[in-house]
Symmetry: D3
């Protein structure tokens, strides 16, 4: 996509992982995720924007707000699923895509969404999808 716009927010959650692979992260622990949501488009609209950045930020805040200050192990949406950084990127991207599809963010030109979540200053993940 030639154009992208990104907005940043964060969430703070508890969770634990299943699988020997995760070592001490099998214990209940937590994370701050810095969430970068990127909207891609082939062109800008007449106003010169990919998307209404104010509404994009507000929508992202709603999505992170529904996840933050919680123990994700207790969220039925994640039953039987490891809420790894990769998986949470997909969850946030899919929820954003649904909101864009409903026309909530005001842009008709958005064709891709990518979400990057930083779990620390030395590790992050991303998930990208088309609309």
């Amino acid at each position: 996509m030639p154009y992208t716009v990104t907005v940043r927010d964060h969430l703070m959650i508890a969770h634990s992982f299943s699988g020997d692979l995760f070592g001490p992260a099998q214990r209940l622990h937590g994370a701050t995720f810095i969430v970068d949501a990127t909207f891609g488009a082939d062109d800008v609209e007449a106003d010169g924007v990919v998307i209404d950045i104010g509404r994009a930020g507000a929508t992202l805040a709603e999505i992170t707000g529904a996840l933050t200050y919680r123990n994700l192990d207790d969220d039925p949406a994640f039953a039987g699923i490891n809420t790894t950084t990769e998986v949470l990127c997909r969850v946030v991207a899919d929820r954003l895509a649904a909101r864009v599809a409903e026309g909530e963010l005001g842009g008709n030109s958005v064709t891709t969404i990518s979400v990057t979540m930083h779990e620390s200053h030395i590790a992050w993940a991303s998930y990208s999808r088309s609309l």
Copy 2:
């Protein structure tokens, strides 16, 4: 592109936007844009570089220097155009592309240019193009 090289600079401008979409940003305000210019290539040259990074930085500084410490509303180049972050990314990328095409940056291998501009710690945009 397998290889990229990026150089960073910044500019500090006043501007205003037209369109209800922009809410309070319709008023004259301003921004510092942190500008990241990325040059992509299929291969490095004999010297092991995508581009002469010194000349790349100097060229980017000339381009940002022509925009900085100004009110973009007064620049004829932007008459009738909202100088959104997305649009400014394209402007800087196109100006860099013209300079590369003129051979000023010394690299024959550059095939793409991408410009990312950070308007704050929580919002940025980018524009990518081929040469």
Copy 3:
């Protein structure tokens, strides 16, 4: 102060400076300021906090909200004053201090306020004061 707590916000303004010292910054231009407000205390309260960080963030947002998306040259509060980064740090710190003194942030233990404002990735200023 042994303890500090810091919250970050930002504002985007237009302004110009008076004085040969400022060179091209005498022209109308603008800036994004990343604003870090630090509250210092000798001890934490019973809850284990220097200050209610939620209210601290909300108060900072009100103060930055009153300044952002504006041309500071038109603000009577700054008539005859260069709104340099140093001066804006003092303005924000003084406004925060008044709010703390009114008991709005809920902490009795705060004794100092420091504000750092980043005008770019390569320049910032700060102002510190006691309450």
Copy 4:
């Protein structure tokens, strides 16, 4: 202190807070804390260092390692205490001070320790003490 040296590490924990002040953070949630440990000295030693930075980093890693990937609500050391960012800064600083006092970090010149913990890109706290 004229001289300081800082090393960075991180920890990822679950916890909850007691007190209406904390709103939704009264629920079990979690955080990544980026931990910056600063050692201050009046002078450098003959080698030109405040402290053996390798041992400083290793000691900090031991201290963060004893806290990370855990639910702090279950740690007897924190019974009846809100593990706010401010409090955790003091805990890490005190544990580092004990190690310095035992001569483990190899510096005789260290006189102060300051710990800053970033809970997100928009909030952090610190605690400073003398040795």
Copy 5:
């Protein structure tokens, strides 16, 4: 690739460059490179991960550990080669790819590797390849 995971490490080396292009960098000098290694995959594995992030970090640390605290001009692997940031990105990416191919990182789904190396706060490069 829809999914990526990135881990960060660093190395500190001396080197010099051959070629008039490099100006003063033809002299023996040095650099800290912040190294970001990104693993891309079409899907996550059953555990919800692209790759075992612990093993990814450990493998990256081995590769940076074999390069750090050295004068790259003395390393036979780089005889006759300018160890530019671009070239070092490729070296690290190729070494990581070999380790992934040997099954050391535990992921069968990784299909691409990208390495970004930051030589300063204003310049960085990257190299991307498939497995």
Copy 6:
């Protein structure tokens, strides 16, 4: 000091350390140092500034320019001295102080100088002095 202003620059050098303490850093290696020079003052001047930030940046660039792209082991100024991050902070601070004392930076109000040098994303040092 109530007021501070900081400018950032960087330098890229080779060096080695003497002393068992330094382990592998006894070998010739190198570093990028991100250099933050902070000027403190009790008050701002009539123009509203601690110091002419343009001249401050230019002076810092001269000082870093005299050090960068060199092997510090060959610099007579550092004979018999380990050029640790702490020591280099003092060297840059002292050189800046001499320039301020000569009136080069245009501020009469500067009373302190502090220099922080980042050797990586996980380690930095500082040195502070009065004028």
